[in-house]
Amino acid sequence: MEKTFTLQDLGASIDTQTLEVNIGPQHPSTHGVFRMNVVLDGETILSLKPVMGYLHRNHEQIAENMSYTGTMPYTDRLDYFNSMSNNLAWAMTVEKLANIDVPERAQYIRVIMAELTRIVNHVSVIGFLLNDLGAFFTPVLYAFREREKILDLFEETAGSRMMCNYLRFGGIKRDLPAGTLEKIKSVTSNLPKFLDEFEALLSKNEILCMRCQNVGVLPAELAVSASITGPMLRASGVNYDIRKVDRYSIYDRFKFRVPLGSKGDVYDRYYVRVLEIRESLKILEQALKDIPAGETISKKMAPFLKAPRNFKPPVGEAYARVEAPKGELGFYVVSDGTPQPWRYHVRAPSFINLTILEDMCIGQKIADAIVILGSVDIVLGEVDH
């Protein structure tokens, strides 16, 4: 039974009721099918319960009934913005499991693709964050104009714009077509100009600053204890980048810096991503300069391109991780020597970064919850794998 207001309540202390609101699951600002059970006092959030699983599609079970290569196109669909880095993580896991070497040229192409993916992800997440702030679709279209050019490159090399399915164990599916390296060079050489324009459009904008600064603050200790990774952790000022920590693939050869935030608010998360794009461009520049000629898949694995089901890794287990644009993406796989993995598990960065949402939102206004969710950078395909 609801309590009714009386006029004498409107004194020095207003006794208000809490209001429960469901945001989502069908709501454009939740970036997919995701529900937040919010308890409000006026406009202030008292508690927020994220409800996930609307997009659950049994990813791990599917992979356990699939050949190792057959899982590759399914990893595209985890975080559908970054299929190349998902492919990279899965390929690295199986390479670790079966002790497979990757030729030089393939390593370089992998790094180039992973960094292009990072740029695609960061520009679009910034665009969508601004969407959530109410700058409806102007920044997104600036971001998507550049994303479009990179997706064209993906289409040219891998055959598909988003579901690339390009990497294979021990290398890549096919070499780059003739002339693509030049195209990547011309696209990346235009990107700094675009970033300057993008920053002129946004970074100093007073409305953006007011909405983002000191909103959704995530202290470094809390971020570490909740095992947050990726740009979110770095925005809180923790210097942890798996490209630097693990030095996987050939990342030890490139000079780049890890941008860090200081406060861990939404604005820092926005700005760390802008800076990360600039660092990615540095990596791309070096990789494009040094890329050698040669084979693109190791001799041991070349026959399995034609017959994926014949690939039977030795009995054992492996976990490999990469610095995906959203955080630490890892795959854990247990092999029993058959063509299918016995156990397969995904450590999805979007999912784990989302667990901290309530702590960031409590005490904020309801409109800020949307912005904070936008700054976490989730893709529901990965959250609900």
């Binding site: 196109p73 040219e156 904008n205 089901r309």
Partner: protein
């Protein structure tokens, strides 16, 4: 800088694009060069990339009877979402033939990964560029049977010229090699027969 200058600077960017948009020639090429231009889709089209893939098709040489598929079922086994269904054809005596009687691909299930094309040992199945396959009924329009999937080699040459060239060259070479091997085997058999005849003769006469 005064308060509000950030907003004004952002507005200058959008104003610049608003003004320059009137001086940009509308074409797919200028869109790629960085201008925000809407492509008037059915009339204007982007050039398809050669490696672009979406749905598979079955290839045949010269006549539709001469399809390359031998119903080996490898693509159906490798297909991650299992959208391919194949039944081998048998002749009147119940002897299996090297061709499919049924070859169905459910396009509602297919996820365009291209693994069937990679796995096919006979270069019989390839990914097409056709994307305008919308229909009113998903059971009838999107379940493609063998006759819907069949396309000539010329079509493959049209959509993916470099791949078609290399595959044709490889097939030609394999064919020549096979013919040469057959001819050699024939010659050898003939020689063996002759020698066996000559070898068999002496005991007869003896």
């Amino acid at each position: 800088m005064f308060y509000g200058s950030g907003v004004l600077r952002g507005m200058l960017v959008t104003l610049k694009h608003f003004v320059t948009s009137y001086f940009i020639r509308r074409s797919p090429e200028t869109m790629r060069s960085g201008a925000l231009v809407t492509l008037q889709y059915p009339e204007e089209r982007l050039k398809e990339k050669e490696r672009y893939r979406n749905f598979p098709f079955l290839i045949y040489d010269k006549t539709p009877d001469n399809l390359r598929c031998v119903a080996c079922d490898i693509c159906a086994k490798e297909c991650p979402p299992k959208c391919i269904y194949i039944v081998r054809e048998f002749d009147k005596d119940g002897k299996p033939l090297k061709r499919p009687a049924v070859f169905d691909i459910d396009f509602t299930v297919c996820m365009n990964c291209g693994i069937c094309e990679e796995a096919c040992p006979f270069d019989a199945i390839f990914m097409d560029h056709e994307f305008e396959i919308a229909g009113g009924n998903r059971q009838e329009k999107l379940l493609f049977h063998k006759d819907d999937l069949l396309k000539p080699n010329e079509h493959f040459h049209k959509i993916r010229p470099t791949d078609a060239e290399t595959i044709d060259k490889r097939l030609r070479e394999a064919d020549e090699k096979k013919k040469a091997a057959e001819a050699a085997a024939k010659a050898k058999a003939a020689a063996a027969q002759q020698s066996s005849q000559t070898a068999a003769q002496p005991p007869k006469t003896a």
